[in-house]
């Protein structure tokens, strides 16, 4: 049982890491700030989500799992806000 | 409770009051309608003055330092306040100059009788209280981090004062001052944290017993000193001072030149004479004094070449600050092998106090002249001395003290320093003191000559100058002269607590 869960964790986090790498490449390679932010936020939101998902089987109880999901949700919201502010700043 | 290495004295509560009374003034001033802010000042200034007087009397009568342990938490865990002879004397000077400036500023920063609250008066009075609180905290503090907070308080109060008038040049000057000051305080903080890492305390009294002669200590002390030198505008870190001090409104210039730059100097003395006594090497002391000598020569020569009165006075501040740094080679008593050399110690502090009075008076006089004429071009000042005799007299008296003509505080200071150079066998500084006096004579008489000369064209007086404001400037100048009546010997009062 636990080895299945561990395999799931490894798989999900690896996928998450892949999205982070993709997002970072986008950040470095895309031509202007809006497209860079697009690449970064899309990929990183998904990446963070996958990392959180992968960690879910590893935590102690439902409360800790809820915490992880809340962390992801807040990261989503604050990421969206920060992106908006940055775009306003460069325009 | 922690080991009581430091115990409070009976009148110690006065020290807390000295710092917190102006703070209470700031808080009240922030919430009252701006129209009443001057009334707040009428309460804050006299009571603050009374507190300073009480501290001086307590220190003089007790013959020892007054100490207060804040919250009952003794150092190293807590923070103590300590008033020795030099802090008490600094507090008194500060109180006198600030109260005089308050009286002087009444004519300049008044809320309009009708209509809404105005910007400049509201800001000015709050800044004045803040500078007072910060200076008291600086001279009473005995904890390196507490002193850092006081330094920042002083900076944040001084910078807006520079650009209170709002012209572009003054904002530029304020920004440059701000950057110098920030780098200065960050370097100081860097040194302070190293000290904590080495000795586990920030308390100056405890440090004096723990400090070891080792490279890390020297690096920390050097960083703190360089940071404070930038704030004191010692040559060659003086570039920010002239536009900042000349650009401020007259009461602001008076405070900045007379008091604010001395706050960081005071802290340098605290570090080398109280936190690490006996650790200042001969070479380092000579270097500090050499920078001081450079300040005297460069500042005076530049003052001679100025076209504008306020800029000339600002450059003179750079020169006069230079003398203070002779305290390092002369007062540590290297030649005699004693830790304490009283003549130079007294001379340096006399220089600080007399310059504070004289320079405040001089900036006020310059402000009145500029107000009357609408400009401060030295070349076109001809004859204004006859229209404003009191102002001219104030300018002349303070000028004589800056030059060091007897009887004046400036004379006592420079004479004591001269004798000290001979006693210590460091005659080369004597030459600088003499040349500095001659150069000061040059720039003061250049202006005095103009003030008394026949006007090239009929003088147009733009605004009436209030008699009471002239008298404020004059009384400060008289204070500078009266300091010349103290006996020419080491002062016992300035020695209290060491």
């Amino acid at each position: 049982m636990s080895s299945t869960m561990d395999a799931f964790t490894v798989l999900a986090i690896s996928c998450g890491a892949f999205f982070f790498v993709a997002g970072t490449i986008g950040l470095l390679r895309f031509p202007d700030v809006p497209t860079r932010l697009h690449a970064l936020t899309k990929a990183d939101n998904l990446g963070l989500g996958l990392v959180a998902l992968g960690l879910l089987p590893q935590v102690a109880g439902p409360l800790a799992a809820l915490k992880l999901i809340i962390v992801w949700l807040f990261a989503l919201i604050s990421g969206a806000i920060v992106t908006q502010l940055i775009v306003r700043a460069v325009r | 409770m922690s080991v009581a290495a430091v115990t409070a004295t009976t009148e110690g509560y006065l020290l807390v009051l000295a710092i917190m009374w102006p703070v209470a003034g700031i808080l009240v001033a922030l919430v009252v309608n701006g129209r009443n802010i001057e009334r707040v000042a009428y309460i804050v200034l006299p009571i603050g003055f009374a507190i300073a007087t009480a501290v001086v009397m307590a220190v003089a009568q007790g013959g020892q330092s007054q100490i207060y342990v804040v919250g009952g938490w003794a150092p190293p865990l807590g923070v103590a306040l300590r008033a020795d002879g030099i802090s008490a004397a600094m507090m008194m000077t500060t109180a006198m100059v600030i109260c005089a400036t308050g009286l002087f500023a009444r004519g300049e920063f008044v809320q309009p009788a009708e209509g809404p609250e105005a910007r400049a008066p509201y800001v000015f009075w709050i800044l004045l209280f803040s500078i007072w609180s910060a200076l008291n905290a600086l001279v009473l503090g005995s904890d390196l981090f507490n002193l850092y907070v006081a330094l920042e308080l002083l900076t944040f109060a001084a910078v807006p004062l520079v650009c209170l008038k709002g012209q572009k040049e003054t904002i530029e000057a304020a920004l440059r001052y701000m950057l110098f000051a920030l780098i200065g305080s960050v370097l100081y903080l860097l040194g302070a944290v190293m000290i904590y890492g080495l000795y586990g305390t920030l308390d100056i009294g405890l440090l004096s017993g723990r400090v070891r002669a080792e490279p890390a200590t020297w690096i920390a002390a050097a960083l703190m000193t360089v940071g404070l030198l930038a704030k004191t505008a010692l040559f060659p870190l003086h570039l920010w001072l002239p536009p900042a001090h000349a650009g401020a409104p007259a009461p602001g210039s008076a405070i900045l030149s007379a008091l604010v730059v001395k706050g960081s100097f005071f802290l340098i003395v605290r570090i080398w004479f109280d936190a690490m006594p006996g650790h200042l090497s001969f070479a380092a002391a000579q270097l500090l004094a050499a920078l001081g000598a450079g300040a005297i020569l460069v500042g005076s020569v530049l003052a001679l070449r100025q076209q504008r009165l306020k800029l000339m006075i600002a450059y003179s501040t750079i020169a006069q600050l230079g003398y203070l740094f002779f305290i390092f080679p002369l007062a540590t008593g290297f030649a005699a092998g004693i830790v304490w050399s009283g003549l130079a110690w007294t001379g340096s502090w006399m220089q600080l106090f007399s310059h504070a009075f004289a320079k405040a008076a001089m900036f006020m006089a310059a402000g009145l002249i500029a107000e009357a004429l609408g400009h401060d071009r030295i070349a076109d000042l001809g004859g204004i001395g006859r229209k404003l005799p009191i102002t001219m007299f104030a300018f002349a008296l303070s000028g004589l003290s800056l030059i060091g003509v007897p009887p004046s505080g400036g004379f006592v200071a420079k004479w004591l320093l001269l004798i000290a150079t001979i006693n210590e066998g460091q005659w080369w500084w004597a030459a600088v003191i003499v040349v500095g006096g001659l150069l000061a004579g040059g720039y003061i008489f250049m202006v005095l000559g103009r003030l008394l000369a026949d006007p090239l064209s009929p003088l147009v007086i733009r605004g009436a100058v209030s008699r009471s404001r002239e008298l404020v400037a004059l009384s400060l100048a008289v204070c500078a002269v009266l300091l010349g009546l103290v006996p020419l010997q080491p002062s016992d009062f300035l020695r209290i607590g060491r």
Binding site: I81 | Y13, L27, V31, G71, W73, E117, V149, A216
Partner: protein, 311 residues
């Protein structure tokens, strides 16, 4: 493993710091600075300083980032490039900075163990303060004078910022980035996030007495929430002569000062607390401070008033 993580983090910190110094565009430099701040917060956790990590994330990166980003945006059109230093002076500066760096590194390597520490003393006296968090005990009991003076520093910085207002705009409102009209998306998020933010800020202030957190962190979160709703156009910036606003600014420091002087009569002296009531008094002071800090930081980031309020 841990050492490898630390080294990686340090390389990142220094690399990003260097990038920030050399990168050409100011806005990009500011964004890099925000990232740097977040990495610093991780460094603070690695150094077992969770209180500082929270402060760094909230102030060092969050609100400073907002402030600088806004400023960079407003300076886009202006010609703000000062005069470049000549090459020899640049070299001298580089050598000087390298020397300072080297001497610091030397100090870091020279420091020996056992290191001096006040941790045991801070813990011994902790029960007299009634607090569970030693950092809070240092801030509000052992070294309360620093904290009180620092609050005055904050207020004074605000007066300094306000003093830069044009005379005609005194009593007016700060203009928060008027160049771009607020977008609907931002307004949407600015309505979702603040309720959570406020709850979090209150929790943070409350828990600071016994866990990492406290008035500074809580107040900063509140300030950021306030800034967010102002920048998104959900709520208007207040006039700086608003009486309520000025009372909010002063409330925290004033209560601190009053409690401090009360200590003269009911305890050992100024800023001393009677052990029985210490925790209650400190929590009350922290609560008032959090509100004042929020107002002060928010207004500091909003800048001086620039126009009169539209009726």
């Amino acid at each position: 493993m841990a050492a490898a993580f630390d080294i990686g983090l340090i390389v990142l910190l220094v690399g990003i710091g260097a990038w920030m110094i050399v990168v050409r565009d100011v806005v990009v430099a500011t964004i890099i600075f925000v990232v740097f701040g977040l990495l610093m917060a991780i460094a603070w956790v690695r150094l077992s300083a969770v209180d500082v990590a929270l402060t760094e994330a909230a102030i060092g990166s969050g609100i400073t980032g907002t402030l600088l980003l806004g400023a960079a945006a407003r300076l886009k059109g202006a010609d703000a490039g000062g005069t470049r230093l000549s090459f020899p002076i640049t070299v001298v500066a580089a050598v000087l900075c390298a020397m300072i760096s080297a001497s610091l590194a030397a100090v870091a390597l020279l420091l020996t163990y056992p290191a001096p520490t006040l941790a045991p003393m801070a813990m011994q006296n902790l029960d007299q303060t009634g607090l569970g968090n030693p950092v809070a005990a240092v801030l509000f009991a052992y070294r309360a004078l620093d904290t009180l003076l620092e609050k005055v520093v904050l207020l004074l910085a605000l007066v300094g910022v306000w003093s830069l207002a044009p005379d005609r705009a005194w009593r007016g409102v700060p203009s928060l980035d008027t160049t771009v009209p607020p977008s609907d998306i931002l307004a949407f998020f600015a309505q979702i996030l603040p309720p959570f933010g406020i709850v979090f800020a209150i929790y943070m202030t409350w828990t600071g007495a016994s866990n990492p957190g406290g008035a500074f962190q809580g107040g900063t979160v509140l300030a950021v929430m306030w800034l967010l709703v102002m920048m998104a156009g959900v709520m208007r910036a207040p006039s700086i002569s608003n009486v309520w606003l000025r009372w909010l600014l002063v409330a925290g420091p004033a209560l601190f000062l009053i409690v401090g002087f009360t200590g003269v009569f009911i305890a050992d002296g100024f800023l001393a607390y009677p052990p029985a009531y210490a925790k209650a008094l400190i929590v009350a002071v922290e609560a008032a401070l959090a509100v004042s800090i929020a107002a002060t930081l928010g207004l500091l980031a909003a800048g001086p008033p620039e126009r009169m309020q539209q009726k």
